[in-house]
Symmetry: C2
Subunit: 405 residues, 2 copies
């Protein structure tokens, strides 16, 4: 499974962007020869440099003709993968397989996993080794349809599932996932092994990782995913395993990663004997809901309840919300604090391991970070703390350093 | 302000219990001479031993006659305080003042604070020194009405407010409040100073303390309360001050007390992308409310929400509740765990002090206590942790020892 060639250098233009540009020209009835020449020369150069027997001119001619004929944006966007698949197959001496013949969507563009699975299994059974282009498939009328997000990763997962792979190796240009955001922590270590659940938690808190949705075809049947780096092929990368395997991978006392996001607000509500007032919390959440505000966390004390929300959803609603809460819940006091960052320390090694919370809190304390809220539920793989935004980077580094030596 | 004599030894019977017993006899038309003789002899003995000029026989005769005549339980219950007030006044050489003439309730038995305040102020202005019996007052028809709970403490607070006292000294048989439950922690230290808010938090978590409600007359106007011990008059006891004073009493890094309760359950609900589902929490709380279940805490993680409830209110409702939550919220998973103890570490010194949470967590970690949940909201005076009930005593001792040397 392959994806389109990216940029060779920052000034280079991505093939997919250039193909989109051709489409935009064609839509307006404007010629795009100059742009298409950039694409052609790039592929012709690759084919000639590697001395491959790919009918590159014929393939490019057909693509140009079809774009001129009004082919869809999806078609244009997919041609990079299509051409790259041909080239890689020729270079490896493998069979090229066009996913348009087997990755199926319905006419509205909804992916059809089961039909796809049988078609891919049937087709690939014919070849010992093959190269399948990623990112696209086709609708019943034969038109090309691309995946909306992380598409080549999905195709890889589809193929891995269909052929009953023991492992799905996902090669890109990073050596797996990192334990922290490299913009915050200097040279964070890669994550050797992670469960899907941990992956989702880190992604939710803003970690840039392989998107959970992108690997659903293998996730459900438990095929592990190995993220590898083409530029560093010896590195083991990150192995993503199913949640059920978390028990057999001892990691007590270790974390998988730490991630966080700024941009939260805390609405703190104080009311004497709130806990014994049936319906207090429900009335509060009803006010939030009727204002279209979903909450992230609800840390509470005795006589206090805090609502942690994404500040963006509060935009322009704070006064109305506060007034409605006053009316419905009659609190003794209500305060809104903006500029809160949430940090999740994630790891299956945290479950039932005494001392993990202590380590997080001690790290923050030593870094002189004031904790605005703490939240940890039962059976959790993570501890979430809220800090003031100016403390965010210091806090993440403190937690990272406490667990990673 | 005085209350009725208690037991001189464990085999002794409390005067108030004996007076109730007389009332029960009278109600059934049974003679109670023998029981009343126990009361009479006790008071006659006190008066004679102290050589006081109290017309004790006349007072006792009137009480017996009125009980025979069908006086209310409240009347009977209040006579211990009434007699004791007479005796103390005579012994000190002060004026005895019967609260029946000034502590007012309405005909339904609702206490009338403002009317009472003016009457007490007016009456006590006449004497330089006086003794007022606690625990009771009267309704418009002149019948005696007692306070339902902690009544003598309330009378003391009423008098302190009415006379504009600088301090309300509340003398009983304990040297103030303790930093932990002496049944759990060996020889806990007394609390030197505490705010009303801290008092309420410790009381809520099960600490046996002067009841918050008992001191409302002085709380609102900010008269400090000093709990003192008649058996240890030199001890400074505990000083209760208003919340506004918490700022001027530096206590950074110290806790006020640690208290906890067993008997909680955690309902843990897991659902992928729950945070982005508007109304999820509200639907959950609506199910709880319609089942009459109020929650104590709502610790949450990513994709999980836990409801901490008093196990007693779940009695016989668990299956119904779980089924309704499944129907309304369609969680991926739902689990109920009983046998949880909650522990609150309380202290105004915790606010904005880095390291307090670390100290609590480290103490629990060193004691090998597994933390089932953590909850700390913004601006909180406390950190609440949930532990398994068998770990409760160990956990409380660990936290106490971490802060108190």
């Amino acid at each position: 499974m392959t994806s389109a060639p990216g940029k060779r250098s920052p000034s280079d233009q991505k093939i997919t962007d250039l193909l989109y540009l051709c489409h935009e020209h064609a839509k307006r009835g404007v010629g795009f020869d100059e742009v298409f020449a950039l694409i052609s020369s790039r592929y012709e150069q690759i084919v000639s440099e590697l001395s491959l027997s790919v009918p590159i001119k014929a393939l490019l001619d057909e693509i140009r003709t079809r774009i001129q004929g009004g082919e869809s944006a999806d078609y244009c966007a997919s041609r990079g993968e299509f051409l790259h698949g041909h080239i890689l197959a020729a270079w490896l001496g493998y069979e090229f397989v066009d996913p348009a013949d087997m990755v199926r969507f319905d006419q509205r563009g909804v992916f059809l996993p089961e039909e796809t699975n049988s078609k891919v299994a049937e087709r690939l059974a014919k070849y010992e080794r093959s190269v399948v282009s990623g990112f696209y498939g086709s609708k019943p009328d034969g038109s090309i349809k691309t995946f909306s997000r992380g598409g080549s990763d999905i195709t890889g997962a589809i193929v891995a599932r269909a052929v009953g792979a023991h492992i799905y190796e996902n090669w890109s240009d990073v050596s797996g996932m990192l334990m922290a955001d490299p913009r915050v922590v200097k040279n964070p270590k890669p994550i050797a092994m992670i469960t899907y659940r941990e992956l989702r938690e880190l992604a939710y808190m803003g970690a840039t990782v392989l998107h959970d949705e992108a690997i659903f075809p293998v996730r459900e049947i438990g095929i592990p995913v190995n993220i590898r780096n083409t530029n560093e092929p010896a590195a083991p990368g990150t192995l993503i395993v199913r949640d059920a395997d978390r028990e057999r991978i001892p990691q007590a006392g270790h974390i998988t990663g730490v991630a966080g996001r700024k941009g939260f607000s805390i609405i703190a509500i104080e009311k004497t004997l709130m806990n014994s007032e049936l319906g207090f919390g429900r009335r509060l959440l009803t006010v939030l809901e009727s204002n279209g505000v979903s909450f992230e966390h609800l840390p509470s004390g005795i006589d206090t309840l805090c609502v942690v929300v994404n500040s963006a959803v509060l935009e322009g609603k704070v006064d109305k919300l506060v007034n409605e809460i006053k009316l419905e819940c009659r609190p003794d006091q209500i305060d809104v604090e903006h500029g809160i960052a949430l940090i999740a320390t994630v790891g299956r090694g945290m479950m039932h391991t005494p001392g993990m919370a202590a380590k997080v809190m001690t790290a923050l304390s030593n870094a002189k970070v004031n904790i605005r809220m703490i939240d940890q539920g039962s059976g959790e793989l993570n501890i979430i703390v809220g800090v003031r935004e100016p403390d965010f980077e210091r806090a993440v580094n403190a937690i990272y350093s406490a667990f990673v030596s």
